[in-house]
């Protein structure tokens, strides 16, 4: 075991996979010599050489278009999009190509690509360094979508994503790269070294996609969250003084419906929390699933705490970001409902 922050855990996952599989290649803007704007690929080019880890032109569509071609050849490309906010130029390649290739070719061709993209707000990133576009991709049949909330999961899930023969969207909440963040922005950051999930095995291990984790067991209310919001929910449960069960989905698609249903049937109450904007966000899917599977167990309407339906503003960071106060209010509402 070693102590790692999320950046180091991701770097370790990439290092492990580069070492285990000669077909793994890593590329993106600034990922090569420089080691990535967030340092996630630091040292890898030096260790594995320029044909395994390299810099690309600033062209997201080109990065993912060539990644698909490499995948078709038989490589296992791990491509980085510098910010999730800049993934849209590659949207056609993801939706029309990566997601459909196996299907449209009757299983003749596929592209086992992993797309890493730092996402999420809480960093004064403004409109194009804060977005959470995961719901855009969970809507695309043929893509898997994953978002870790801590270093241990980040490494295990990333290894599983790289080994997966389907295209995987791997979103990394950059707000928690260096330490867990519960939304209390006025308090100093606690580093991952002070957190049990900052303990990360140095070698190979994987966390299967499609399996949620119970971040905090409880009986009164189920909170469904992922990424940074897991930590916000944990704080909110304490502050609300309720015995909330916080489920960290980890994998949005495929989704671990059994864990969700079991929890909501037990608690009878559900709060869904994500940073992404509300309308047609992934929370809408979660709400519908809970309603379909747990209708007779529900004792209150399902609540959603999300980003507002506006572009991510710069100066109103903390009015926009769904912090513990808003989650606490939702918990109170659902408990009284």
């Amino acid at each position: 075991m070693a102590t790692m922050n999320m950046i180091q855990a991701i770097n370790s996952a990439l290092d492990v996979m580069l070492g285990r599989d000669d077909d793994v290649v890593i590329f993106g803007e600034d990922v090569g010599y420089f080691g990535g704007v967030f340092r996630c690929t630091a040292g890898l080019q030096k260790k594995y050489g320029k044909t395994r880890v390299f810099d690309t032109p600033i062209a997201e569509g080109g990065i993912l278009g060539t990644a698909i071609g490499m995948g078709v050849y038989g490589l296992r490309p791990v491509a980085e999009i510098q910010f999730a906010d800049y993934i849209y130029p590659a949207f056609d390649q993801l939706v029309s190509e990566a997601a459909r290739l196996r299907y449209r070719s009757g299983g003749e061709f596929w592209a086992p690509i992993t797309v890493r993209a730092p996402c999420g707000g809480g960093i004064f990133g403004g409109q194009t360094h804060s977005q959470s576009p995961e719901g855009v991709f969970t809507h695309v049949c043929g893509l898997k979508t994953v978002m870790p909330s801590n270093p241990y999961d980040a490494k295990g899930l990333l290894i599983a994503a790289i080994e997966d023969d389907d295209p995987v969207m791997f979103f990394e909440p950059k707000r928690i790269y260096n330490g867990p963040f519960d939304g209390h922005h006025d308090k100093p950051l606690v580093p991952w070294s002070k957190h049990p999930q900052g303990e990360v095995p140095e070698g190979y291990y994987r966390i299967d996609l499609g399996k949620a984790a119970i971040a905090r067991p409880g009986n009164d209310v189920t909170l469904l969250a992922y990424g940074t919001m897991v930590h916000v929910c944990l704080a909110a449960v304490e502050e609300a003084g309720v015995d909330g069960e916080v489920i960290d989905l980890r994998s949005l698609l495929p989704i671990d419906i059994d864990t969700i249903v079991e929890s909501v049937k037990k608690t009878g109450r559900c709060v869904i929390v994500h940073e992404a904007t509300r309308t047609s966000g992934f929370g809408a899917e979660l709400s519908a699933l809970v309603q379909e599977h747990c209708f007779y167990h529900l004792e209150a309407p399902i609540q959603r705490v999300t980003g507002w339906d506006t572009p991510y503003p710069h100066v109103f960071e903390w009015e926009y970001f769904p912090g513990p106060q808003r989650v606490t209010r939702a918990i109170t509402a659902v408990m009284e409902g």
């Binding site: 032109p57 071609g69 196996r102 009757g106 061709f109």
Partner: protein, 409 residues
């Protein structure tokens, strides 16, 4: 402000519209044999003239002339002629089948057969092809089963794509023919990525891809050229300039002020423009680009200058936007007729042999069609709707199993 200084927007117009006389007077068509064949390792900057020229081997008397004349024996030429003829017979038959209501859709490649067939001949059989929807000649040239192609067109019980794809969106892995997508141009950077992978692994195979001149306006064209140039990927990027993108003449794609081969210059990639109806020239230029790629000298863009002789698709009526006689007046003629006359001219072919071969190919396609039809026509699905849920992912996730069960399977 004076009226004379007001701005006006330029909207390109083709030289002739329905009812007009076809007008090809603006085309610069150099004599065959006038351009030298450069060394395959020539720097891109030394090859700029080729982007504005037109490499031609067959002259007005169908003789092979000049430096680009490829070293192809008569047997290979007859074989190429046969593959082009077979492609055309196949296309003609499939159009008829669509008109009979046995399939929903078809796209012919009439007039462009030399592009696919000569290029397939110039590449190695294990080079990877990333085609658009109008290179069916690649499959014919690689000896793929016409029955297999027809079954895909019918979406019948033998459709290898399990009824999921629109007719002609073939995928033939064993022939190195990549799955065709409806989204234009996406295969271009994919081909570059495949070629980069081949280079990364120290392989000897190269990739080739095709787009039409209309698709060069898509961002993936730019991505492909940039990445191919940056990494010197062993790839051949072909632009089939058949003058029309559905109803829009090539000027709407940006062809009025520069050739499509010219685009390559800005990327530091050689851009060679070739008479796309000249089997020998297409073969020779592709061979040159393949040798260049295979010896690590990087990518080449080839503009294949041709004419889409027939409708865009079975859903299109070209008489609504261009003169009906334009196709017959195309100054570069017909690729099949030109190679036929060349072979006759060198004493390796005859009108009788040609007539006999045409009849044989027609009979072969009819027999193949009969076989294909025995597996069903127009959506005789290959499997129960249960198969609709397969291959979305490698393993079917629970939510898809649930949806399949909801449908009753």
């Amino acid at each position: 402000m004076s009226i004379g200084r007001r701005l006006s927007l330029h909207i390109p117009e083709p030289p002739a519209r329905p009812g007009d006389e076809p007008d090809f007077s603006g085309l610069k068509i150099p004599l065959a044999g006038t351009q030298a064949r450069p060394a395959v390792d020539a720097p891109a900057r030394d090859l700029r003239d080729y982007a504005d020229g037109l490499i031609r081997v067959l002259d007005d008397h169908d003789r092979a002339v000049g430096d680009w004349t490829p070293d192809l024996d008569a047997e290979a030429l007859r074989s190429g002629l046969r593959a082009m003829m077979l492609t055309r017979v196949f296309d003609d038959r499939m159009l008829r089948v669509q008109r009979q209501g046995k399939t929903s859709f078809y796209m012919k490649s009439t007039g462009e057969e030399a592009v696919a067939v000569a290029q397939a001949y110039a590449l190695d059989d294990n080079d990877m092809l990333f085609p658009s929807y109008r290179q069916q000649g690649l499959l014919v040239a690689r000896g793929h089963s016409l029955v297999d192609m027809m079954c895909q067109i019918f979406n019948n019980t033998r459709d290898r794509l399990k009824g999921r794809q629109l007719p002609i969106m073939y995928s033939v892995r064993e022939k190195g023919f990549f799955s065709i997508s409806g989204n234009l141009g996406t295969q271009y950077p994919q081909a570059v990525g495949w070629a980069m992978a081949s280079a990364m692994k120290g392989d000897t195979r190269i990739a080739a891809s095709w787009v039409g001149e209309g698709t060069t306006a898509e961002p993936d064209f730019h991505h492909a050229l940039t990445f191919a140039s940056v990494y010197q990927a062993p790839v051949i990027l072909n632009v089939v300039n058949n003058q029309y993108a559905i109803s829009a003449f090539q000027g709407i794609a940006g062809g009025e002020r520069a050739t499509f081969a010219d685009r390559a210059i800005g990327y530091g990639v050689p851009g060679l423009r070739v008479d796309g109806n000249d089997f020998l020239a297409v073969y020779a230029v592709t061979r040159w680009a393949a040798e260049r790629a295979r010896s690590n000298h990087g990518p080449t863009l080839i503009e294949l200058f041709t004419y889409r002789a027939d409708a865009h698709s079975t859903s299109d009526d070209p008489s609504a936007y261009r003169p009906q006689s334009e196709s017959a007046r195309w100054p570069l003629g017909d690729p099949i007729e030109r190679l036929k006359r060349h072979l006759i001219g060198i004493g390796e072919w005859s009108v009788d042999q040609h007539t006999q071969l045409a009849a044989e190919l027609d009979a072969q396609v009819r027999a193949d069609l009969k076989e294909a039809e025995s597996y069903g026509t127009l959506s005789t699905p290959p499997d129960s709707p249960r198969s609709m849920f397969d291959d979305v992912f490698k393993e079917m996730p629970p939510h898809l199993i649930k949806q399949r069960q909801e449908m009753g399977y």
